[in-house]
């Protein structure tokens, strides 16, 4: 199972949640399959999906799901100690760990070799870290959404991409409609 299939399976669960989606194919796939104003698509700035999601979770009440990738987390590895030391009960970090930089041509990452992001996250102070296989992602996400604590999910899957269109929405439009959704959920 590749990332687009994992996301497709998760859509019924996350369609009404606030989702911060990583640059490149994760955002493009989510946008193609289930565009929602409650999705914040990153069009640039690799690595910051988890940071944006944490800042958002710490600043309002609704659940926040950051969809990130193993390569992106490796780019911003300093995010994990910040998340571990500032836990937000309403935050779920979902790391699609396909062991590759998918958006740039599936170059291998160290997470697909000797580095375990699950163990790194735990060592950084994240207390509720779940590693799962792609087939288990729906059940694990269900449990995380029901839980009253922060969850870091490391979802192992195969590398590979589908053809998706680029996102034509203007960045301030993405931000504006997303903020309106955030406000609604905190009214």
């Amino acid at each position: 199972m590749i990332r687009s299939e994992v996301l497709k399976n998760l859509i019924p669960l996350i369609t009404d949640e606030l989702v911060v989606s990583n640059i490149g194919l994760p955002s493009q796939e989510l946008h193609m399959m289930d565009d929602q104003p409650s999705n914040f698509y990153m069009l640039g700035t690799m690595g910051l999906s988890s940071s944006i999601g944490l800042g958002l979770a710490l600043s309002q009440k609704a659940k926040v799901i950051s969809i990130d990738g193993d390569g992106s987390v490796l780019t911003n590895l300093g995010t994990l100690p910040t998340i571990g030391n500032n836990p937000a009960k309403n935050f779920i970090l979902f790391i699609v760990d396909n062991g590759s930089y998918g958006s740039t041509g599936d170059q291998p990452t160290y997470a697909g070799k000797k580095t375990s992001l699950t163990e790194v996250a735990r060592a950084c102070g994240c207390e509720n870290v779940v590693e799962c296989q792609a087939e288990e992602a729906v059940d694990v996400m269900k449990a995380a959404l029901a839980a009253d604590e922060m969850t870091i999910i490391v979802c192992k899957c195969e590398s590979g991409n589908i053809q998706v269109p680029v996102i034509e929405l203007d960045a301030p439009v993405i931000r504006h409609r997303f903020m309106e959704e955030v406000a609604k959920r905190n009214a």
């Binding site: 069009l43 640039g44 700035t45 999906s49 940071s51 944006i52 910040t82 500032n86 301030p172």
Partner: protein, 165 residues
């Protein structure tokens, strides 16, 4: 009243409720007061681009954010400033310790000091330079202007402003 206290009072007065910091020796006092403030959530970050991500999220969550960092961070954050903060029109006051200015004792700090204003200028970032302690009186107006304009703003604070190295 110390400039540290004046900065934190100004942040609170302008409803800045989310502050991230990366330390600098000159910023130790203000970071300490931010941490102690009951009105501000202080989330230290490990690198300034990470901190800008936190601030972007906090802004979308309805909180006014700010980042406190050293001028060397301009070299770290250009991509984040351009593709996140500016591209998505997110207001972000950056209170920046301006190392490498007159009185500096660490020669290497001058290497980024000479690029600081040029880089900010290249990015079209509105920039203010606090040189004497009284300059802090303008912080209220600058914060207000930053959130009004939904742009990043650099507030460079040099050694003379902080009372010398």
């Amino acid at each position: 009243m110390s400039v540290n206290q004046k900065i934190v009072d100004s942040l609170v007065k302008n409803k800045v409720e989310f502050v991230t910091t990366v330390p600098c020796k000159q910023l130790a006092g203000v970071i300490d007061l931010v941490e102690k403030s009951d009105d501000i959530l202080h989330v230290p970050s490990n690198k300034e681009d990470e901190g800008m991500g936190l601030c972007a999220g906090a802004y979308m969550g309805g909180k006014r954010p700010a980042i406190i960092m050293q001028n060397t961070a301009i070299g770290v954050t250009i991509n984040t400033l351009a593709t996140l903060i500016q591209y998505y029109t997110i207001p972000l006051p950056m209170i920046i310790s301006y190392r490498g200015e007159l009185g500096e004792r660490v020669a290497c700090q001058v290497e980024m000091a000479v690029h600081t204003k040029a880089l900010l200028n290249q990015l079209n970032i509105q920039t203010y330079h606090f040189h004497t302690p009284d300059d802090v009186d303008e912080l209220d107006t600058i914060l207000n202007h930053t959130y009004m304009s939904r742009k990043p703003t650099a507030i460079l604070t040099d050694s003379n402003f902080w009372g010398g190295y």
